[in-house]
């Protein structure tokens, strides 16, 4: 009971844990970048209302939104190999676990970012496009020069929040046996019998990441909304 916490172990565990931080960053980078591309595809499909795909995506989005990320990861980890084996005859049992985790996170990010992008593009008033077309600007140019810059400004704060959330969600991947910072902490705990220090170090690291990302997104947001006022009359 008295041996719950010691600074000595904090000092000892910190360098061990920090070496596993790149794994977390790697997962976030892969999930966010590929999820971003998937999100663009999903948003385009949904806005253009591509016949069959739109319906399939509606069901898929409902699934991704309605189930816990942990369950999604477990389902991808256990069910995806079966699909691969049945459909293509590929044996994926020896693949790295991180591939399945990445896949689950990419799908999750793709859906959530896709909904943000779709909302942002649809939030730009229709008159903007009509006015651009009336000025003789082509369809694609109107989208790139007129709609997109406004949509990006709308989508940015939520995209930042999603990225911050993604960092926290990566703390779940150790449950599948991926050796990230959490996995290392529980392995350390299993050998020494002391987990608390490791978990506190992880909490501190995540808080710092959170502060950093929040500062960056607020800064970008401020730069983008410079000089504009919102509807309530308060300067943004």
């Amino acid at each position: 009971m008295a041996d719950l916490f010691s600074w000595q172990r904090v000092v000892k565990n910190f360098p061990i844990l920090i070496t596993k931080l790149p794994v977390t960053f790697e997962i976030v980078a892969v999930a966010f970048s590929l999820g971003f591309i998937l999100a663009l595809l999903i948003a385009t499909t949904r806005i253009k209302k591509v016949p069959l795909l739109n319906q399939i995506l509606t069901v898929f989005i409902s699934f991704e939104r309605g189930t816990p990320l942990l369950v999604q990861m477990l389902v991808v980890y256990y069910a995806f190999p079966i699909v691969l084996y049945k459909a293509f005859g590929i044996d994926s049992r020896r693949w790295e676990k991180i591939i399945f985790v990445d896949l689950a996170l990419i799908l999750n990010q793709g859906v959530f970012l896709g909904e943000i992008f779709r909302g942002a593009i649809l939030a730009v008033p229709k008159g903007q496009k009509e006015a651009a077309l009336a000025c003789g600007i082509s369809d694609s140019k109107a989208f790139i020069k007129i709609i997109l810059p406004q949509a990006i400004r709308i989508a940015l704060p939520s995209t930042g929040l999603t990225l911050i959330g993604l960092f926290q969600e990566t703390s779940l991947v150790y449950m599948l046996g991926v050796m990230d910072i959490m996995g290392r902490a529980s392995a350390l705990g299993a050998t020494s019998g002391h987990n608390l220090e490791s978990y506190l170090i992880i909490a501190l690291i995540f808080v710092l990441i959170n502060f950093g990302l929040t500062a960056i997104t607020t800064k970008i947001d401020k730069n983008l909304t410079y000089g504009t006022k919102n509807l309530t009359g308060r300067a943004a």
């Binding site: 939104r65 309605g66 189930t67 990320l69 256990y78 978990y199 309530t232």
Partner: protein, 220 residues
């Protein structure tokens, strides 16, 4: 490597029994979080001296820590400081979820309060209303429609978030659905069953809350 539908059905039936556990873990903390979260939000908006500073820092720090990490930390502290009680782990889960949800709710309620123009307060003070009357008659009726969509997200998030009690060993929908899997070591069906159950619960909850939103915004 195979997938049997018969087995999936067995897992779904096994998981359904534990829906009450998941709902209790989701809704009790949510209800408490709405109360505490609103109080924190009000304290921060009215700039109550020490309380405001404290919660500003606490919210900023606590919202940066992943839910699993806080749960594991509280679990360790619980194990070493308290005597094991019958419902101890369950209370621990309630405590962790309430604290985490309170932070999220307080932020969304605060956002909703800040969306009300300052002139509304000034006008009602000018009419001679007290602070309490202003809140009750003028501000809160306007805050509710603004806060409701965030509340829907909070309710769905709360249900989904309960799945991390896996680390505490509490038998909820996720754990319950995999009970039959222990016979065959084929866990696919169990996890797919859990996913289906969560999906259905969330679809139902979302349906009702979205209708409530529409109903309330129509009244306006």
């Amino acid at each position: 490597m195979k997938f049997s539908l018969e087995y999936l059905w067995k897992c779904i039936l096994s998981g359904i029994i534990y829906i009450p556990v998941t709902l209790k873990l989701a809704l009790i903390p949510l209800a408490l979080a709405i109360v505490f979260g609103t109080l924190i939000a009000l304290a921060r908006i009215f700039k109550v001296p020490v309380v405001e500073k404290f919660f500003k820092i606490f919210v900023a720090i606590y919202s940066g820590i992943p839910g699993v990490v806080t749960m594991l930390i509280f679990h360790l502290i619980y194990l070493s400081l308290f005597k094991p009680a019958k419902n101890g782990i369950m209370l621990l889960a309630y405590f962790t979820f309430t604290l985490g949800r309170t932070i999220v709710v307080s932020e969304s309620v605060r956002g909703a309060f800040l969306s009300i123009p300052k002139g509304q307060y000034e006008a009602s003070y000018a009419c001679g209303l007290s602070t309490f009357q202003t809140l009750k008659k003028i501000i809160i009726p306007q805050v509710i429609p603004v806060a409701l969509p965030a509340l829907t997200n909070n309710a769905l998030g709360s249900i989904k978030n309960t799945s991390i009690v896996l680390v505490l060993g509490i038998v909820d929908v996720l754990n319950g659905a995999t009970i039959p899997c222990a016979d065959t070591y084929s866990y696919v069906e169990g996890y797919v069953a859990a996913a289906i159950i969560y999906w259905v619960i969330n679809a139902i909850v979302e349906f009702f809350l979205v209708h409530l939103e529409k109903h309330l915004s129509k009244k306006k």
